[in-house]
């Protein structure tokens, strides 16, 4: 039974890690307080749903399709909206408060737009539904596929940021925007790339959710909350922190509630969140600002 719980935790943990990574890219790099992130996840979920059910795309490819569509949307939004907001901001604080309002508006538009366009009722499809046995633990195929897809995405993102020139450039921007400009990093181009990756990954995560659960215009809120809890836990701008934080939250949610009771879920998650805020406001992996 323990293994069953741990495997379940891995499935949600991998998903949470992707969502938190994507939110951390947007918030950590550009300081855009993206409270519409859950809605970007939702848009990806619908993209995945329609690619599979209307166009007959294999679900695994639909994940990439959702990434591409959302990434493109992120790019357009950056050029048309975010770049101006970043340019006009006087300070980090004013950028955060302006972007909060903008993203709040975006979330309302996306939610209501989706409800108008697709109707409010949930939609679902069934794929990879066979039960797979992994060392005595039974798990539905779609959850295994979802977990594998998320682990792959996390590894790909971490390798990209550890090894590639652009990954290093974005990390430099996260670490110190001034220093990044001094060494000659093209901030605009790096932000564009961040938007493609961040919003693309949110869409990818949405399509992964669609593999397992019904999708609806209102599904985003819970993932936004989880995302912010995790990036505060793991540290703003700390990509590895988001991955560890995602797994930690999933463990609290499955194993933690098994040890205490289902009603302790929110207490465990938000209790840990508040404890970290009090004891290590910079997050588990964060350093004090130098």
């Amino acid at each position: 039974m323990t293994w069953q719980l741990l495997l379940s935790a891995c499935v949600s943990g991998a998903l949470y890690a992707v969502i938190a990574l994507s939110l951390n890219l947007i918030y950590g790099t550009m300081r855009l307080l993206d409270v519409a992130h859950g809605e970007f996840v939702m848009v990806g979920a619908f993209a995945g749903y329609f690619l599979v059910t209307l166009l007959g795309v294999p679900p695994v490819l639909a994940l990439l399709g959702a990434f591409a569509l959302n990434g493109l949307a992120g790019l357009v939004l950056y050029q048309w909206l975010f770049a101006g907001i970043i340019r006009r901001a006087r300070s980090t604080e004013s950028l955060e408060s302006t972007s909060l309002l903008v993203f709040f508006g975006l979330s309302v538009i996306l939610q209501n737009g989706a409800a108008l366009a697709f109707g409010g009722t949930p939609r679902a499809y069934e794929r990879y539904a066979r039960i797979v046995h992994v060392g005595g633990v039974a798990i539905t195929g779609n959850r295994l596929v979802a977990m594998a897809a998320c682990v792959l995405a996390v590894v790909a993102v971490l390798v990209f940021f550890a090894r590639s020139t652009w990954g290093l450039a974005i990390r430099a921007l996260i670490a110190n925007r001034d220093a990044a400009a001094i060494v000659g990093i093209d901030t605009q181009a790096a932000f564009r790339l961040t938007c493609v990756l961040g919003f693309g990954l949110a869409g990818y995560a949405g399509a992964v959710i669609g593999l397992m659960q019904p999708v609806s215009p209102f599904m985003g809120g819970q993932y936004l909350m989880i995302g912010f809890v995790i990036i505060v836990l793991g540290g703003v701008g700390k990509l590895v922190g988001s991955v560890v934080g995602g797994v930690l939250i999933a463990l609290l949610e499955t194993v933690g509630t098994q040890l205490t009771g289902p009603n302790y879920r929110d207490i465990l998650i938000y209790g840990t969140f508040i404890a970290v805020l009090l004891l290590r406001p910079q997050g588990i992996f964060g350093r004090h600002a130098a």
């Binding site: 020139t165 290093l168 450039a169 990390r171 430099a172 670490a175 110190n176 001034d178 220093a179 990044a180 400009a181 001094i182 060494v183 000659g184 990093i185 093209d186 901030t187 605009q188 350093r287 130098a290």
Partner: protein, 238 residues
Amino acid sequence: MATPILSVESVEAGYGEVRVLHGVSLHIAAGGITALLGSNGAGKTTLLRAIAGLLPASGGRVAYRGTSLHGVPASARVDQGIVLVPEGRLIFGDFTVEENLLAGAFCARARSRRAETLEEMYARFPMLRQRRRQMGGTLSGGQQQILAIARGLMSRPALLLLDEPSLGLAPMMVAELFAVVRDIRDAGITVLIVEQNVRATLELADDGFVLETGRITLRGSASALLGDDAVRQAYLGL
């Protein structure tokens, strides 16, 4: 006279409503070391930031090799060969030494020769090779300054702007640092250096300028400045 590598003409700049530079003009010939002197708050850092493109000039003109830099973003200036090693170093504390260096070679011109340049830096600064996997933030002050300079050199600059590199260093480190600056000049890179360590700087430099409250008040060869009474009084405590 050949086209100066850098021309600053009546540049005005500041922060918000506060004007710091009130029409600064100076020309720097390619190849030498130029010292920029001035007391605290004179606007030296502000001038370097304006040259590097980190701060917009509200008036006047900055030209590099005869071409105006107006509207050219900081990243593109690095690509053209101007790099700043800032006051306070601004190295990436959470990056390894090697990552810090690689970040310095981001611009397109330097990126393709990144491995080669990295090897040159390691050859020149063996300390960095030894500590290549160490986090930048764990280095000593002097080591961080070397790292900041090496990171600047990774972009293969033609003009290096050094803002108070000796700040906070132990005297032995300072001597080593000045040797490094000389090496850089000998390698053909033009250096504009801001220093509190006036005597050592003027002994090393070819030319010098004195900036006071946003205006150039003195200019001349380094040896002439070293002999100037005003300079001796204000900066050498004689």
